[in-house]
Symmetry: C2
Subunit: 286 residues, 2 copies
C-alpha cells in the first residue's frame, strides 16, 4: 500500500535551481527531505538553512526526485539504487528517452516522468526560490512502472510544489516542448552567437542593443549543461521544428519588400500573440 | 542664430508610445509643445493631461519630431511644411532611407536622423510613460541639412528626454540595428507563427508554453504598422543578418547529437551573454 506524500521521505538528486526550489516548496509537507549534490557547499547551505533535513541517499527514500540535466538522468537511471516500492520521478525537459529508461527499472520500483514548466534564466541553488513552481504546469508521463498509487503520489508531489499536474504522452510532450521551449533556446543561442561576430567587427553593436535584444538572448544565459541535456535528448524533434521555423522565416523574408502583404501577415500574428496573452497571462523570465 | 531648446516650440507628429513618451519627458523643458495625430481622442487626452499645450502643426514649430512608422516618415518628408531654420528630427528605427529623404529637404531647413533605443512591447499613447527614454542611447545621424546648430539642438533634445546622444553614420546604424533589433523582431514573429500552426494541430501547445516562450515571442505583440516600417525600409540588411543567423543555426543543429562539442560551443556563448549583462545590465521589455 502506498504512503501518503506527507508520510514520505523525499530525496532530491541534484540541488540546483529546480531541485533546490522544489525542496524549499516541499518544506513541512513531507516527513523528511534529503538531498545529494556534487557541490558540498550547496548541501551545507541547504542544511544550514533548514531546506533539507539531511544529506542522504536515494536508497533510503520513498520518493526519489532526479533533478539533474536530462542526459545525466538517462545515464543515472540504469544504475539507480532505490528500495522496492519507492517512486522515482525526474524533472528533465525531454521525456521520451528518460521514460524509456524508467520503463526498464526493476518491476518492484514505481516511476513517473516529470517536466515542470517553470524556470529562470539563471540556474543553480543560489537562485532557488520556494515559489518557482507556483501555478506552473507540471507535465507527468506514464511509464511501464506507473501504478495508480504512483499516479496519485506524483500528482500530490506536483501539487505540494504549487504546480498543476498535466498528464501527457511522452512523445507528445517532446514534440510540443521542442517548439515551446527547446527552439526558443536554440534561437537565443544562435542570435547571441551572431551578436558575438557582430561585436567583434564593430564594438558599437552592444551599445545599440536594448530591451528587444536582451529579451531575445536571455535564454542564452542558462547553464550550458542543462541545455546540452535538453538539446541532445530531443535532437530530432528540435530539427523538425527548426525546419518549420525556417519555412516561416522564408515566407516573412519574401514579404519584407511588400508592405501590404507583410502588414496582413504581421497583424494576423500580433492578434494571435495578444489572444495568447489574454488567455494565459504573460510570464517574464527574469 | 539657433534658439536654445528651452526657447523652442517643439511639435510632435504622431503621439504614440514614442511621441507621447517624448512629450511627457519634455514637459517644462521647452517653450511650447504641440502635436498632431490621426486619433483625435489621443490629442484630447494629451491636452486634458497637460502633456501638450495645443494641437498644432509642424509649420509653426522650431523643432519638428516625426514619431510615426518608418515607411510613413519616408512618405511624409518630401511634402513636409516647416519654416526656414526649423530642425526636423525623426524617431524611425532605420536611418538610411529616412536620412536620404531628409538630405533633400530645402536648404534652409535643418535635419538630423534619430533613433532612440527604447520601447515597450505594447505601443500607443496609452502606454506612454515619461521615463521611457531614461538612460537609453539615442542614435543621431548627420544629413546634408545638419549644421553645428542642428547638432547641438538634436543633442539637447535627446538629453532633455533623458537619453544619451550617440552620433553614427546611417548605414552603420542600419547594419547594427538589423542584428540588435530587426532580426529579434523577425524571429519573434516567425516563432509565434510556428506556434499558431502547432496550436492548431494540438491545443495543448499553449498549455505547455511558459516564460521561455513568452519572452521569445514578446516582440510579436508590437503594432504591425511599426514593424512594417522597420522591416520594409531595411530589408537588405535584415536578409543579410538572417542569412548569417541561419549559418549559426546550421552549426548548432549539427552539434545537437555531439554533447561534448555542443557543450563547448554553448559555454562560449553563455560566457559572452553573461559578460554582456555584466557590462550593460539587463533590460526587460514588459
Amino acid at each position: 500500500m502506498k504512503k501518503e506524500l506527507a508520510a514520505c521521505t523525499v530525496h532530491i538528486t541534484g540541488l540546483g535551481l529546480m531541485g533546490g526550489s522544489l525542496a524549499m516548496a516541499l518544506r513541512g509537507k513531507v516527513a523528511r527531505l534529503t538531498a545529494e549534490d556534487i557541490a558540498p557547499d550547496v548541501l551545507d547551505a541547504a542544511l544550514a538553512q533548514g531546506v533539507i533535513d539531511a544529506v542522504g541517499e536515494a536508497a533510503k527514500a520513498d520518493v526519489v526526485v532526479l533533478a539533474i540535466p536530462t542526459h545525466l538522468i538517462i545515464d543515472l537511471v540504469p544504475v539507480l539504487k532505490v528500495r522496492p516500492g519507492a517512486l522515482v520521478i525526474d524533472l528533465g525537459s525531454t521525456k521520451t528517452r528518460i521514460c524509456d529508461a524508467l520503463d526498464r527499472l526493476p518491476p518492484d520500483v514505481l516511476a513517473v516522468g516529470g517536466h515542470p514548466m517553470c524556470g529562470l534564466a539563471e540556474n543553480g541553488y543560489r537562485h532557488a526560490i520556494p515559489t518557482l513552481y507556483d501555478g506552473a504546469r507540471f507535465v507527468l508521463c506514464e511509464t511501464r512502472r506507473t501504478t495508480d498509487g504512483a499516479r496519485a503520489l506524483a500528482e500530490a508531489l506536483a501539487r505540494a510544489a504549487g504546480a498543476q499536474p498535466l498528464w501527457m504522452d511522452r512523445a507528445r510532450q517532446d514534440h510540443l516542448t521542442a517548439l515551446t521551449s527547446h527552439l526558443p533556446h536554440l534561437l537565443s543561442f544562435a542570435l547571441m552567437r551572431l551578436a558575438m561576430d557582430g561585436a567583434a567587427e564593430d564594438t558599437a553593436l552592444y551599445e545599440l542593443a536594448a530591451g528587444g535584444f536582451d529579451g531575445a538572448t536571455r535564454l542564452a544565459r542558462t547553464d550550458a549543461a542543462m541545455i546540452v541535456g535538453m538539446f541532445s535528448t530531443n535532437a530530432d524533434q528540435i530539427r523538425q521544428m527548426t525546419g518549420q521555423l525556417r519555412a516561416h522565416l522564408d515566407r516573412l523574408e519574401s514579404l519584407l519588400d511588400a508592405p501590404g502583404d507583410l502588414d496582413a501577415e504581421l497583424c494576423h500574428i500580433v492578434e494571435a500573440r495578444r489572444a495568447y496573452t489574454a488567455a494565459y497571462g504573460e510570464r517574464l523570465i527574469t
